[in-house]
Amino acid sequence: MDIFMEYFWAFLIGGLLCAVGQILIDLTKLTPARILTSYVVAGVILGAIGIYEPLIELAGGGATVPLTGFGSLLSKGVREAVDQYGLLGAFMGGFTSAAVGISAAIFFGLIAALIFKPGTKINE
């Protein structure tokens, strides 16, 4: 695929997924934590019914970077683990596939919290 089109699709799909989140915030007063949770669960479902994989093929980072991508990663991990280990795999695949993301967030979070001082928002 043409390199320009590749980045175009990443921008468009990624941007659209974020715009949908913004519409939800503006219209439904859903709190940010609920949006994050819904996105991950939606990603699991879309991944499970096979809709998300083609989107990743098309948009690359535009589909994997939003949290729906994290959800689809969970479903992919579970599917592979069930194929390999049977029912036990249902309890393995999610964390295996999410391992890098969660570990990185914990570790970098810890380091950042140790290095930086708690601070204030804009204006101050």
Binding site: G14, G15, A33, I45, F70, V78, F108
Partner: protein, 151 residues
């Protein structure tokens, strides 16, 4: 009070300014899209360095999470988020921000009960429901396989 709660609620709705969606949605689109383009660029870079697609994807997530942790520590992430809205919330960087910010904030209450215990106050539900949904899918997928005679 000489006004019913219903009437009062309607009055509240009438005078409350709505979010200016003509501004918030394009901002979310552009900044969210830009973070995804950065992700795509990182993905290509790691693949060019010889990693396979899955590992390049993992490294991309790791890099974005690192950048988000750094920007959160520098108190820049929440500033960008004021303009970006869901554009900085929905990408994986938003997840990282939701882990790093309480850790940083509750450091004053101690390393164990503050930083450690509060780290997942916002992101916790994401993991609880994400992992649970994946387990349910795994069980359904397994039953489906059994019924179709694959196992």
């Amino acid at each position: 009070m000489n006004i019913s709660n219903q009437e009062y609620g309607e009055l509240a709705k009438r005078v409350s300014p709505p979010s200016s969606m003509t501004k918030t949605i394009p901002m979310a689109f552009v900044i969210g899209g830009a973070i995804c383009v950065l992700g795509e660029a990182l993905l290509n870079m790691y693949q060019a360095l010889g990693f396979d697609r899955d590992n390049a994807g993992a490294l991309t997530s790791m890099t974005l999470i690192f950048l988000s942790a750094l920007l959160t520590g520098l108190k820049l992430y929440d500033r960008i988020a004021q303009f970006a809205g869901a554009g900085t919330l929905v990408p994986i960087t938003g997840f990282a921000n939701s882990v790093v910010s309480p850790a940083l904030d509750f450091k004053t209450e101690g390393f164990v009960l503050g930083l450690g215990a509060k780290m997942f106050t916002i992101a916790g539900p994401v993991i609880v429901y994400g992992i649970s949904a994946s387990i349910i899918y795994g069980i359904i997928y397994y039953i489906f396989k059994v019924l179709n005679g694959y196992v």
